[in-house]
Symmetry: C2
Subunit: 313 residues, 2 copies
């Protein structure tokens, strides 16, 4: 009998604990590292309601820090927010062994190079979650819909480690879709995320209905989407012609809602401005693409954060 696969989830918020639960269903020994919810999860494990059934589980081990980890896992699932003040590499390092595959389930563009450079001898899987989950209390998560993870190697290809991870997801009950061009998929997701997330914050926490609620506002969102597509194309990831139209049409069909950066803003939490917006603006500079709408939003977001910090001080 094969030895049990071991996974360690670093950053077990809603997304991390959901995929931890999926791997647990697939027979993986899932341990977790978490800080603020340590006591609750240590005592009661995760409580996860889901259309897939009850996904509640007790981790094989619960750590406050990767420093406590004695045996490096087969898979290190990194579901940390990419924000200032979180040193992802330092958090990961004590848990990464020679045979550890690193799986990054994180938002944004160009979040991989720092990790690939820090761990040049480890397989790094870049993954995008398409899932509606939210944390409703310490260790308590509500899975509402979807669940697919799209994954591939950075900058391209799909190694055996990536395929094995996809198989585990499928065994656990969600789609694990391997892409040979996961970076293109990140750009495709950025067409929505990069315009809507900062726009919502700058408009004071506006929902999707307000952001598409007038010709002026829709024109801004479309202009920002065009800039994202232009940068993506310049970076070698041309997207289909209808990607903007379909994003607008689909968003209009959905009920008004607040995106993740809007919720972070409204709740006073750090925002993923750099992976979602700053890295796109820097990619534009690198490739010589003019992005005046995006760079306006980026400069405004930096000022907003500077103002938040000044008000706190």
């Amino acid at each position: 009998m094969a030895e049990q696969v071991k996974a360690l989830v670093l950053g077990a918020g809603a997304i991390g604990s959901f995929y931890g639960a999926i791997l647990h269903r697939a027979g993986v020994a899932v341990s977790v590292v978490l800080r603020s919810e340590y006591d609750a999860v240590k005592a009661d494990g995760f409580r996860i309601s889901s259309p897939l059934g009850d996904l509640s589980f007790r981790p094989a081990a619960v750590y406050r820090s990767t420093e406590e980890v004695r045996e490096s896992p087969d898979y290190l699932i990194v579901a940390l927010k990419v924000v200032e003040g979180i040193d992802r590499v330092a958090s990961m390092r004590p848990a990464v062994g020679p045979n550890t595959t690193i799986v990054l389930i994180e938002n944004g563009i160009d979040i991989e190079p720092e990790i690939v450079e820090a761990f040049p001898n480890n397989a790094v899987v870049s993954a995008l979650a398409f899932v509606a989950v939210s944390r409703v209390g310490p260790g308590v998560v509500e899975h509402k819909a979807y669940g697919q993870l799209m994954l591939g190697d950075f900058p391209k290809g799909a190694s055996p480690a990536t395929h094995r991870f996809a198989e585990l997801l499928e065994a656990g009950g969600v789609r694990g879709v391997v892409s040979e061009n996961v970076v293109t998929e990140r750009w495709r997701k950025a067409v929505w995320n990069t315009p809507f997330n900062p726009t919502s914050v700058l408009a004071g926490g506006a929902d999707t209905k307000i952001m598409l609620g007038s010709p002026t506002s829709e024109a801004l969102i479309r202009a920002m989407m065009e800039e994202v597509c232009a940068v993506a194309a310049a970076a070698g990831h041309a997207l289909p012609d209808d990607v903007i139209e379909s994003n607008i049409v689909n968003t209009k069909k959905m009920p008004a809602y607040h995106n993740s950066m809007a919720l972070d803003f409204l709740n006073g939490r750090p925002m993923e401005v750099e992976p979602i917006l700053g890295n796109v603006v820097r990619a534009a500079e690198k490739h010589g693409v003019a992005v005046p709408h995006l760079s306006t939003a980026y400069a405004l977001m930096r000022m907003l954060i500077a103002n938040q910090q000044q008000n706190k001080a």
Copy 2:
């Protein structure tokens, strides 16, 4: 002996009551129309401290509405905010007689055409206040510094009515500077106002130090200023080459402060988005000038206001 000149101040906030006091010092019979501070001013007049001395005065008459005005004034001083929900023409109409000169002391670009169209047979003076005044209580105003009013006819020239009004200001103790091209002066003021005001609001109420606090933020302010200058030039009001540099340098020399739109935002008051920003964006469209940074800020401001209204509802 000549009959006493009669002035009526409509919108007697800090600016309106300050210039009312100056005209009172010049021997003008100054009446006022005000709503929320009616009782305080009716009882005690205006209390105005100033480096010029005590400018406190009792108006010749205090009205709640121009409907109550029996005799039309020689000068109708309009110091209303140019915001949605205030119908300036309707407020003015009952007080405008055949010999009334209308003096607009208001912020922004293209605030005159609506008034000129509504009162085609009256002289309209367009005026820009360079004054540091603030309201500190009902009918209580603190004049801190400056006081100059720059004035001229719209769209250009300087009629006898304009010159007479400037003489009254000088008699009252401040500079009254007549410009044959007051619209050019409005554009010159817009080089500062149009970038800094909405930027401050979108950054959550940021002060001038934050808005010039990093290369990214200063680059945005400069890009917006360049767009204002390009629109001004296309509209026939080319500004000197050093106007941007001098605005940046002077602002850096001043202590950090919050501009008028930032204060309106932080205090939940209506903001002058259309005269300061929207009319510039529309002038750009009319003249075929690309203003991506300004139009991003404008779309964001419209969304912010839509979001405020939704949160209030």
